[in-house]
């Protein structure tokens, strides 16, 4: 082969290999670090994987917030209108966290189906509901309605 062509071929092979490596890494990292969102119903029914990092969201159930007296441990329940999911967290809750409002927790689900959250997010301002939560609530509402009309028949 002509030396110049050989050089070019080597360059092309190198570039292809590098590109393949990069694409592989990107796909792998996206999989590793993409956190999926689950509704309380999906988690309680066991559809969501245990001990993988995930996000869950819903409305904080009225009267469910329990605080410890001597630490920052807190427990509360969230609901999508179908099921309730217990969440435990140690730390400071965000400014707009309140009972009856939307919240998203990220963490891992333990064996007792309790979400051990490392981070709690509340909505940005009083008008905004996180879209995932709104979608989940709408979905649950539709299913409920469908179930109701089904049972009457």
């Amino acid at each position: 082969m002509h030396p110049l062509r050989k050089q070019r071929l080597q360059l092309v092979i190198l570039l292809v290999a590098a590109a393949a490596l990069v694409v592989g890494l990107v796909v792998y990292m996206l999989r590793e670090n993409g956190n999926f969102f689950y509704t309380p119903a999906q988690i309680v029914s066991g559809e969501a994987p245990k001990s993988t990092f995930l996000r869950a969201g819903g409305m904080v159930v009225d009267g469910s917030v329990v605080r410890s007296d001597d630490s920052l441990w807190v427990q509360f329940k969230i609901t999508d209108g179908v099921e309730m999911l217990t969440i435990e967290h140690t730390g400071i809750l965000p400014d707009l966290f309140a009972e009856g409002e939307a919240a998203i927790a990220s963490g891992k689900v333990d064996e007792n189906v309790v979400l051990q959250a490392t981070q709690i997010l509340a909505k940005h301002d009083e008008k905004y509901t996180p879209p995932e939560v709104a979608d989940a609530m709408n979905e649950a509402y539709k299913q409920k309605e469908a179930a109701k009309s089904g049972s009457y028949k």
Binding site: E32, F37, S71, G91, I92, D135
Partner: protein
């Protein structure tokens, strides 16, 4: 009435920009000099009318004219005056008007300072800028009119500005960022004009370079301010979240940085021509993409976007038009630009040369941008394809971005010493030896002193941080290489010519050489050292950051990283449009009072919104950062105590990078060439006459 004047002024500005888009361009093809010259006056006229429109909206805010929807949503009679002014760009409609205003400012600047450019070129640049402002003018008037009224039942009180935005940071951050974003439109216009004319040479690069550098300076400072604002205003001490909105500003910056380097190769060596043009197109396209991501609502939810698609579709269509047509033009004309007639010499460079190192810089920067782009768009694509709702976390971004930055820093050290065309590898090895040993020493030894837990008596390697070692090594490498190069330049003079006429004593000649160093050289040095300082801040603050969330009652004492924090008392204070619980927390080191901090928990009345106002004691080597969490039972509060070593270096470094860019914009070279630019333009006019 004021609002209506503003509305009319905006419509007139749109009409002027339509004329600005068409007339000079048509003139440049037909050869009518009067038509071409018209672009300049149209650009100035457009600035006047957009400014009137902007002033009218500001007046509406100052007069609390709540019959305007936009004012009613974003202001309040109790809002302090400075925030009433910054509220003008606090939300969607107004920030687009600011975009339009800044575009008009850049266009007018091009019109005023392009006297030395060939008329064909400057008229085409202005025409393309005019076309962009047509797009934005239409966008504002059709989908996001800030002058829309609520009549007849207008509210008597406004909904107030989002409390997060009631801050000094928001007064300065968006205008700076937009100056950068929109500034790339000038680079874009230059690139498109070059493609249309089929001419892009060193002289050309020299004309475009100050414009590109100044846009890049604004963007650098804008991002730095944004990070600083997030740090103290969001209340929890983070300074970068890999949030899509932040990524939207970082991507044009990375491409802009690549462009700043690539155009220097084009100017000095005539190489990388089509690549430079592509980067200019890319930088502006990413600025538009950022505007699309932030302004269309597509980030909060793809579905929210689908429900109210008007704005999103408009920007998406505009984005598609700009990117599509400019890339098509690039595909058609790029090859023409690349092999240009009349090149003095064939551009060649060997495997090891400054060109090659700058190519590596460009590859790394553009790949970093691509990784961020994928990570930012992936959740949107997954949502559209119904693959599930995914958010891509910081580990993804850090995994790619950190090694690439380190690679850049290693290359940066060599780059200052490298020569155009061919660099001697042996020379680089010799020059790099001392800095390498110093950096290695710093990397091995300094982490021992930085970790508080390590003492000579009880040596433990557990707290020795590899991350800190790598950070210190890379930063010292950049700084020592830069200093060595500076020293050598002082010894031998900036260019070969200087070295022949060496002065009598060495010190004299050093001083003489010091004054001779050009602004662009100082710019490079300051910006590179700024990168090192910023990296040092990022690395050390994330390794040695200590954070404690604690429950405290007044009188409690908590130790964090060598500092004792006491919760002294809690009061209630009343602000202009909020009430706040204010804690008093004293910080002691070795029983000496270091600082008294007053963190607040504010409740803004109009929106009934609670906000954490952190208190901090800033220092070069460490920040003390205290914020109130939430009230617990009794007198107790959840309190977050932070000791953040070297966190200031992040923004100090950012400002140094900006200053470096500014120094190179002010390089005498660009001003001196302005006179000889007349000569050059005469030449290129002659060349054009020949080709036509």
């Amino acid at each position: 009435m004021i609002a209506e004047y503003g509305h009319v002024a905006l419509i007139i500005a749109l009409c002027l920009s339509v004329a600005q888009a068409i007339v000079p361009m048509a003139g440049s093809f037909a050869g009518y000099r009067t038509w071409m010259r018209l672009g300049h006056s149209l650009a100035l006229g457009q600035l006047v009318f957009v400014a009137i429109s902007f002033a009218c909206l500001t007046a509406a805010f100052l007069q609390d004219d709540f019959s305007l929807q936009y004012v009613a949503n974003n202001s309040n009679t109790l809002l302090p005056t400075e925030f009433k002014i910054s509220a003008v760009w606090g939300a969607h409609e107004g920030s687009l008007l600011l975009w339009a205003l800044i575009l008009a400012v850049w266009s007018a600047a091009v019109a005023l300072f392009s006297g030395h450019l060939p008329l064909v070129l400057s008229s085409r640049v202005l025409s393309i800028l005019g076309a962009i402002s047509v797009g934005f003018g239409l966008f504002i008037l059709l989908t996001s009119n800030p002058f829309a009224r609520i009549l007849p039942f207008s509210p008597t009180e406004g909904g107030d500005l989002n409390p997060l935005l009631q801050d000094f940071g928001l007064i300065v951050h968006p205008p700076m960022l937009y100056m950068g974003y929109v500034g790339f439109s000038v680079a874009f216009a230059f690139a498109v004009a070059a493609l249309i004319g089929g001419q892009f040479d060193s002289a050309w690069a020299r004309w475009a370079r100050p414009w590109i550098n100044s846009a890049w300076v604004f963007l650098t400072v804008g991002i730095t301010l944004g990070s600083w604002w997030a740090y103290y205003e969001l209340g929890w001490g983070g300074w970068w979240f890999w949030d899509p909105v932040e990524n939207a500003s970082l991507m044009p910056w990375l491409v802009g940085t690549a462009l700043v380097h690539s155009i220097s190769v084009t100017e000095k060596r005539g190489a990388f021509r089509s690549w430079t043009l592509l980067l200019a197109i890319l930088a502006f396209s990413l600025s538009l993409l950022g505007t699309f991501l932030v302004r269309s609502g597509v980030l909060t939810s793809v579905h929210a976007f689908a429900n109210d698609p008007e704005r999103g579709i408009f920007i998406l269509a505009f984005l598609g038009l700009v990117v599509g047509s400019s890339l098509l033009l690039f595909a058609l004309r790029g090859p023409v630009v690349q092999r240009q007639q009349g090149d003095v010499e064939v551009v060649s460079y060997s495997g090891l040369s400054r060109e090659m190192i700058l190519l590596l810089n460009n590859v790394l920067l553009v790949s970093a941008m691509a990784m961020i782009l994928i990570g930012t768009l992936y959740p949107l694509i997954a949502d559209v394809l119904e693959l599930g709702k995914i958010s891509v976390g910081p580990p993804y971004f850090n995994f790619f971005f950190v090694p690439m930055t380190l690679g850049l820093m290693v290359a940066m050290g060599f780059a200052v010493f490298s020569r155009w065309k061919k660099t001697d590898a042996l020379m680089l090895r010799q020059k790099g030896m001392v800095p390498f040993l110093i950096s290695l020493g710093a990397a091995l030894i300094l982490p021992l002193f930085l970790a508080e837990t390590i003492s000579w008596e009880s040596m433990s390697w557990e707290a020795y941080s590899i991350t800190a070692a790598i950070t210190l090594g890379a930063s010292f490498w950049v700084v020592t290489m830069s200093i060595e190069d500076l020293w050598q330049k002082l010894d031998r003079g900036y260019s070969k010519r200087d070295s022949s006429k060496r002065g009598s004593s060495k010190r004299d000649s050093r001083l003489k050489n010091l004054t001779k160093l050009p602004g662009s050289y100082w710019g490079m040095q300051v910006a590179h050292i700024g990168i090192a300082v910023c990296a040092l801040g990022v690395g050390l603050s994330s390794v040695y950051d200590v954070q404690k969330d604690v429950r405290m009652v007044p009188g409690d004492r908590v130790e964090v990283a060598g500092y004792e924090f006491t919760f002294d008392s809690l009061d209630f204070v009343q602000g202009p449009n909020f009430g706040a619980s204010r804690g008093q927390i004293s910080a002691y080191k070795n029983d000496r009072l270091v600082a008294v901090l007053y963190p607040e928990k504010r409740k803004y009345e109009a929106r009934n919104q609670v906000m954490t106002e952190a208190a901090l004691d800033a220092g070069l080597t460490r920040d003390l950062y205290v914020s109130l969490g939430e009230p617990l039972k009794g007198d107790a509060w959840a309190i977050r105590l932070h000791v953040k070593p070297f966190v200031r270096c992040i923004w100090l470094g950012g400002l140094m990078i900006g200053l470096g860019g500014l120094l190179s914009v002010m390089d005498k070279r660009y001003r001196r060439r302005r006179q000889s630019g007349a000569k050059l333009s005469a030449q290129s006019a002659a060349a054009e006459a020949v080709t036509q």
